[in-house]
Structure formats: structure tokens, C-alpha cells
Symmetry: C2
């Protein structure tokens, strides 16, 4: 089976934004509290950290558990890796995720300002100044025959969508209006010409959208 | 994390039957065509066999892919393993699944008529004349720390439910009335006192019910 290019667990506000305005070190999602985008996932049994609150085991949990299934590499944008813009990022910046990032595979960071690769636990970040097509070739070669996750942010996913490189996509629509920020879409209808679409509402209030490429 | 006891991908008719009437070698689900219970699963990308019809990649596909996740052993009833009733099953009967059964773990078959274990590819069937509690102890010991799937049929799942041994359950309700057969439930409400419940409808017409034990 061929390697597939997938977006998984990407959260978008009801009004179509994937991030707020003004990302910074203290505000990784800009004016929006990151919890707004992620609390639904951390309320599942798979990710819940508190033994007193064991988390749900319904639809959200199924979807969250699938995050790493058959993934051999991730491609992300520099804006997901770092709060810095332009050159001048300190080499001491090693991402938002601490000593044990949740990727556990090679990660290719698309940036105009490449730097030396970093290994943290079983995740290695490589920095590439390249096109989506070139990055995808490298990621596929590194993924041991497994799939590639396109990890975001908004600009990176849109770039891969425009280049028609994405095979399937899971988008979680959060019941919250961001008002402003980085726009991901007008709505799922933007993609109907190229993708099959299924939409299911979960108990948490999140609506899960699945897309898979028309053959 | 402790080993969980799970039911997964168990299909039930809209009117609550898990099998038809009159199971036999030619009619494993009795008067109901097995396709009625299983076609939805074989229409997913994960199980679709025909490259011309690549299958869906929405909710049904997610759920089907999860069938083997972290499962280390299955327990099934003799009526799932065999069309024979009572003693006198031929030792040449090796189950419905051919040379490479889809379990790939130890499988414990509850029966009043034990026989010698059988290994087919990476599945080994053991035959036990024991209580659900005893079978579960053996399955847990064999599962290498992973979860136990209670594979059916109806009588076996009901027995484990009554013994309060099941932690979580996925039931697929098929848009079809069986009229008669082996009754699984009156409806999901039978379980609300002991389980959390979430219900989601998929594009295929199947409704997925998730249950997880109240703590």
C-alpha cells in the first residue's frame, strides 16, 4: 500500500480560523487561548492526565488515538515550530514541546531560515527551505514506508492543499468563533470538488470532518 | 495502564438482534444474510478488497481500523467458532476463517465440549469449559499486557455484561429489522445505568454506539 499524506487532529474555529492573531512566545495561538482548540482532545481517556478525571471513551477518544497510526514522518511550518518570525531565531529554541515531543518520528520544518537538525528523545527536527513537493519526497524517504502527517499550521496545510498533495484530512471544528486570526477555510464546501466529505458531531460539541480524495 | 475488556465491531439489527434464527454451516447468521451485518465494514478503505472500489475513509473506516488496536487476546463463544451444537463437533472443523484467521492472537473459545488447541497462522484457538471470570484470567495472562476483546456472539457478550466484566463496547446498529433471531438488547437504554453512552450516525446508514463503564 502506498504512503498516504494525511492531516489529522487539526482544529479550526466555527468561523474558519486555525489560529488567532498575534502569535508569540506567551501566546502560541495569538489572541485565542490554546485550550479553546485543544481541550476537547485532552478530555479523552487517551490524553487525560488526571486519574481522578479519566476522560471520555467515545468518538473523540477514537479519533485522538489515531493520531500516530502508521505515521512515519511529519511536515510542519515554521510557525508551528516557533514563535519567531524572519531570521534571528535563537539556536536555543527547540520547539514548544519540551524534552519529549509528541511526534516520535522525523519532523521536517519548512522555513526560509534553515538551521542544524535537533534530536529530542525519539523525535528529530530537520529544517528545510524547499517546496512542498521536495519536502514530501524527503519525508517519504524518511518514513519507512509509513504515511506522512501534514501537521500545520494553517499556511502549511493550505500550501499542501493547493499543490494537491493531501490524500486525507481530519478537521475538528470547535464550537467557538475566533473573529479574527489565520483563516483556514470558508467552510468544508471549499473542498467538495476534490474530496469526499463526512461530518459527525460528538458529545463534546466538536464536529469532526473527514475528507478523502476523490479518485 | 490496566488491561481493558472490550467489545468492538459487534453489529446488531435496528430491532436488537445480533444473529438470525437457525445458524448452520451454510447460514452462519441463520436466516439473515451475513452481508447485512458486515457490508458496511467491508465498504471501508481498510477492508475493501477491490482496487476498483477503494472504499470510504470516513467514520466507518476509523472504527474498523481500530479492531486490533492493543488487543492481545479474544474470548468468543462456541457459537461464533462453529455451526455445531452439542458434542460431536468434528476435529476437522477449524473455524469459519480459513488458514489465516483475522485474530492474530490467542483466542479462547468457551464451550462445554473442549478439544485440542489449534494453531492457524498466528492465531491459536484454545477451548475452555469455564466461567467468564476464569476465561478472562487466562486471556489476560496470555495477552502480554494488552486488552481483551470479547468477540461474541450474542450469548457470550450478554454473559460478560451480566458478570460486569466489560469495560467498553462499540456496537454498530444496522438499518435493518431482523424480526427474529438471537436478541442482543431492547436498545442502548438497557445499559445507561452502568455505562456512559455516545451515539453517532455514519454516512453508510450505520449508527455507532460507544459505551464505557461509569467509574
Amino acid at each position: 500500500m502506498s504512503q498516504r499524506v494525511r492531516v489529522h487532529l487539526f482544529s479550526v474555529s466555527r468561523d474558519g480560523y486555525g489560529s488567532g492573531e498575534g502569535q508569540s512566545l506567551d501566546h502560541p495561538f495569538g489572541h485565542i487561548d490554546p485550550g479553546v482548540f485543544h481541550d476537547w482532545a485532552f478530555s479523552t481517556a487517551f490524553l487525560a492526565g488526571d486519574p481522578e478525571k479519566p476522560g471520555s471513551r467515545g468518538l473523540d477518544d477514537y479519533i485522538v488515538r489515531d493520531y500516530s497510526r502508521n505515521i512515519g514522518a511529519e511536515i510542519m511550518g515554521r510557525n508551528k515550530f516557533s514563535p519567531y518570525r524572519g531570521p534571528g531565531e535563537s539556536e536555543s529554541w527547540q520547539g514548544w514541546w519540551g524534552d519529549d515531543p509528541p511526534f516520535h518520528t522525523p519532523v521536517f520544518v519548512l522555513t526560509h531560515f534553515p538551521r542544524t537538525s535537533i534530536t529530542l528523545s525519539d523525535t528529530t527536527f530537520h529544517f528545510l527551505n524547499s517546496t512542498p513537493e521536495e519536502a514530501l519526497l524527503m519525508a517519504k524517504a524518511a518514513a519507512n514506508g509509513k504515511d506522512i502527517r501534514i501537521g500545520g499550521g494553517v499556511a502549511t496545510i493550505r500550501q499542501f492543499l493547493e499543490a494537491e498533495l493531501i490524500d486525507e484530512m481530519h478537521i475538528a471544528v470547535i464550537p467557538f468563533d475566533a473573529g479574527r486570526g489565520e483563516r483556514f477555510w470558508n467552510g468544508p464546501g471549499d473542498l467538495y470538488d476534490r474530496y469526499h466529505h463526512e461530518k459527525v458531531a460528538s458529545l463534546s460539541g466538536v464536529t469532526h470532518h473527514f475528507f478523502w480524495r476523490r479518485v
